[in-house]
């Protein structure tokens, strides 16, 4: 029986090592399996679709990489990248100084403003005075959570952190939150849905804070993977130049989501 156990252990180790025979140019791209329309959402047959999914596929095609989409919960993305579970993060993760201490980013591939939406029957704006005494919901480990804690931490009655933005939207529709702060496109999509139309409206854009809100969304890579960082940045530039970016964007938005050209990256 000991012999059997030894054979089994050897088989497991061989299997693990065998799986490690790397395919050329295959990278694992981490993304969070939550509904974040219109950037990514899962349709009934299980395929992930959305603007970001198409852009990621375009970037990978351009960079001649075989990107394997690996689902990892949002708050586990950076640890997974650092422990080499995944090789890149392409999941609407903003480029911020705080994150740049841990990982590197490619150049940005979109930049959109941050807004606050809230219950329809309450009149307030997206400032500390407006949010005084309100219950604000944000997604954990996002620039919005950092911004809310820095600027609205004293004013708001409570800042609740959710695993996904979708859950925060649900609680807003249910009336447990007075407001939520997130990306303008994602919240715009929520406001256009039935639940959003019934409950909430746009309260306004938050005051800018580049340090916390970052300079757009880029692909995250490990600090030592400078080659991959350059390839992804080059691919992003290439799809901007050859029109693929505009072609995909036209399907979803009627404006250029790239945002103003930034100095950084």
């Amino acid at each position: 029986m000991i012999r059997g156990l030894k054979i089994a252990a050897a088989a497991v180790l061989l299997g693990v090592a065998g799986m490690a025979a790397a395919h050329a140019e295959e990278i694992k791209v981490g993304f969070s399996p939550e509904a974040y329309p219109p950037f990514y959402t899962q349709d009934a047959s299980g395929k992930w679709e959305g603007w970001e999914v198409e852009i990621v596929n375009a970037i990978c095609d351009e960079a001649k990489l075989d990107c394997v989409l690996t689902p990892i919960p949002w708050d586990g993305l950076i640890p997974a990248l650092k422990t080499k579970k995944i090789d890149a993060i392409m999941n609407s993760m903003s480029i911020t100084e705080e994150r740049k201490k841990e990982i590197n980013f490619s150049s940005k591939y979109y930049n959109t403003p941050t807004v606050v939406i809230g219950a329809k029957d309450q009149k307030f704006d997206a400032t500390p005075e407006g949010l005084k005494g309100k219950v604000l919901g944000v997604q954990v480990s996002t620039i919005h959570a950092a911004y809310a804690k820095k600027h609205f931490g004293d004013a708001a009655a409570e800042i609740k952190e959710y695993q996904t933005q979708d859950e925060a939207n649900q609680d807003l529709a249910a009336g447990r939150l007075d407001a939520t702060q997130a990306d303008s496109i994602a919240l715009g999509d929520f406001l256009a849905s039935d639940a959003g139309k019934a409950c909430c409206d746009l309260k306004g854009e938050v005051a800018p804070d580049d340090e916390v809100l970052g300079l757009g969304v880029g692909a995250g890579v490990r600090k030592e993977d400078t080659a991959l960082q350059e390839r992804l940045s080059a691919a992003i530039k290439a799809i901007r130049d050859n029109g693929k970016y505009a072609e995909i964007t036209k399907k979803y938005f009627d404006f250029d989501i790239y945002g103003a050209a930034s100095q950084a990256n």
């Binding site: 954990v140 952190e161 009336g175």
Partner: protein
């Protein structure tokens, strides 16, 4: 099981903790702890200490409240399954089966997000007196934990009630004691005594179930550790500290139950 010392040995035993292999192991453990203190990142600790203490308090409060309320619910559930008429025992058994057959995480999410998705359909809920509580997350966490504890303990109490010697109950009835008196003086105390060792283990399991409420935004110690991990990007240290906190609370629970069992006169059988 072999006994450690023969009855005939007169020489005193050295303390079990000072045997050579134990000393070596304790030294290795101490070395690991010191290495982790000096080589791992603990600079986040002072900043997060206040909220961590609040988180520990909330965890303990949730544990005590859900266990207390749960056992109060479990006693009727168990009693009704041990004796009661079918019309009461069948729903009780169904409740226990459903609670024990589905994961607690699913129950928590069903209560919080499932019920939450119903609120927009019934606007009158917002005017009701319950709204301040329905708005917050901890009532749902407390309710889910209480129902879960009641479901599992209902089964334990059923066995305990069924295990009390029938002769005692019959003798009490023969003495003319009312049913409530029998329950209060004979049945319940003996059933609790039978169940106490199991209840100690179940309370530890309840402690291990409390982190699940962190997923519905209740700020317990697990939520605080998650927050630390996200804001500082430190991967392992908060989890190690979290494990230590839970180990300590488990130790306290086991100690408390042992004291409780010692107070009850031990009777075998």
């Amino acid at each position: 099981m072999s006994s450690e010392s023969s009855v005939l040995t007169a020489a005193p035993r050295t303390s079990a903790w000072l045997q050579p292999h134990r000393i070596v192991l304790i030294l290795i453990a101490a070395a690991l702890v010191l290495a982790s203190v000096f080589y791992m990142r603990w600079d986040w600790l002072p900043r997060y200490l206040p909220i961590a203490i609040e988180g520990i308090w909330r965890t303990i409060w949730l544990l005590v409240a859900s266990a207390g309320l749960g056992i109060m619910l479990a006693i009727p559930l168990g009693l009704v399954q041990a004796t009661g008429p079918k019309i009461l025992s069948v729903p009780a058994k169904t409740f226990c089966t459903i609670i024990r057959g589905t994961p607690l995480l699913l129950q928590v999410w069903l209560l919080y997000y499932g019920l939450g998705s119903l609120f927009p359909q019934f606007p009158w809920i917002r005017e009701s007196f319950m709204w301040p509580y329905l708005r917050q997350a901890w009532p749902y966490g407390l309710l889910a934990l209480t129902l879960s504890f009641a479901g599992y303990e209902g089964e334990v109490m059923r066995g305990a009630f069924a295990g009390v010697a029938r002769g005692q109950l019959e003798a009490a009835r023969a003495f003319g004691m009312s049913r409530w008196k029998i329950f209060r003086r004979i049945w319940l105390p003996q059933a609790v005594q039978r169940a106490l060792p199991t209840l100690a283990g179940e309370t530890v399991l309840q402690l291990k179930a409390t982190p699940l409420v962190a997923t519905i935004t209740v700020v317990d110690i697990y939520n605080v550790a998650s927050r630390v991990r996200q804001e500082t990007f430190v991967v392992y240290e908060p989890l190690l500290l979290l494990a230590l906190v839970y180990l300590c609370i488990t130790g306290i629970i086991v100690f408390a139950f042992r004291k409780l069992e010692a107070r009850i006169p031990a009777r075998l059988g």
